[in-house]
Subunit: 103 residues, 2 copies
């Protein structure tokens, strides 16, 4: 969507400032972790490095939010930390297997 906010009349031709508002629909990115050292580093270095203009990052601690384990497994997550973007699971290094979270 384009928003015209007025012009500057200085100089020969009027300049009109048009601010094009980029689509604000952000891609959801879910970072599943269990609070382990590998998880914390991946969170700081990768989850927090995603472009905030294009991605809405949700951090999910599966050790504390056991109700989210089923959704993580349904998305293909087999270990944590893992980032799910556009339905695709990306396991980052290896912190712990999902089985360890279910005990």
């Amino acid at each position: 969507m384009a928003t015209v906010i007025g012009g500057a009349s200085g100089g020969s031709s009027p300049s009109i400032f048009i601010f094009l508002e980029r689509s604000t629909m952000k891609t959801p990115a879910t970072f599943y972790h269990a609070g382990c050292p590998v998880c914390v580093e991946a969170e700081h270095q990768i989850a927090e490095a995603l472009d905030p203009d294009r991605y809405e990052v949700e951090l999910v601690h599966l050790g504390e939010q056991k109700d989210r384990i089923a959704a993580a497994e349904a998305a293909g997550v087999k270990s944590v930390p893992a980032l799910v973007i556009n339905g695709a699971p990306f396991h980052i290094n290896f912190g712990a297997p999902m089985s360890a979270l279910k005990s």
Copy 2:
């Protein structure tokens, strides 16, 4: 650093546009891959998702740039695809072991 680029004289008080230039020192992020399907997906979904304002992403195809294998291993990369940020290696899923790239 602040750059004053002039003002608009419309309205009661002159408005001065000050564009504050944020620090342009970007963090280097090296994405090592070998062109495999796992690599290509990780490249599109993660390497390209990093915030371009804060990160300078370099894509390195280790199958083609064999001279970069030593540096990747020195950074702790053991398989590809892998992203190295601030000297820390993050293996993303599993595409191929480094040994496969050295044959």
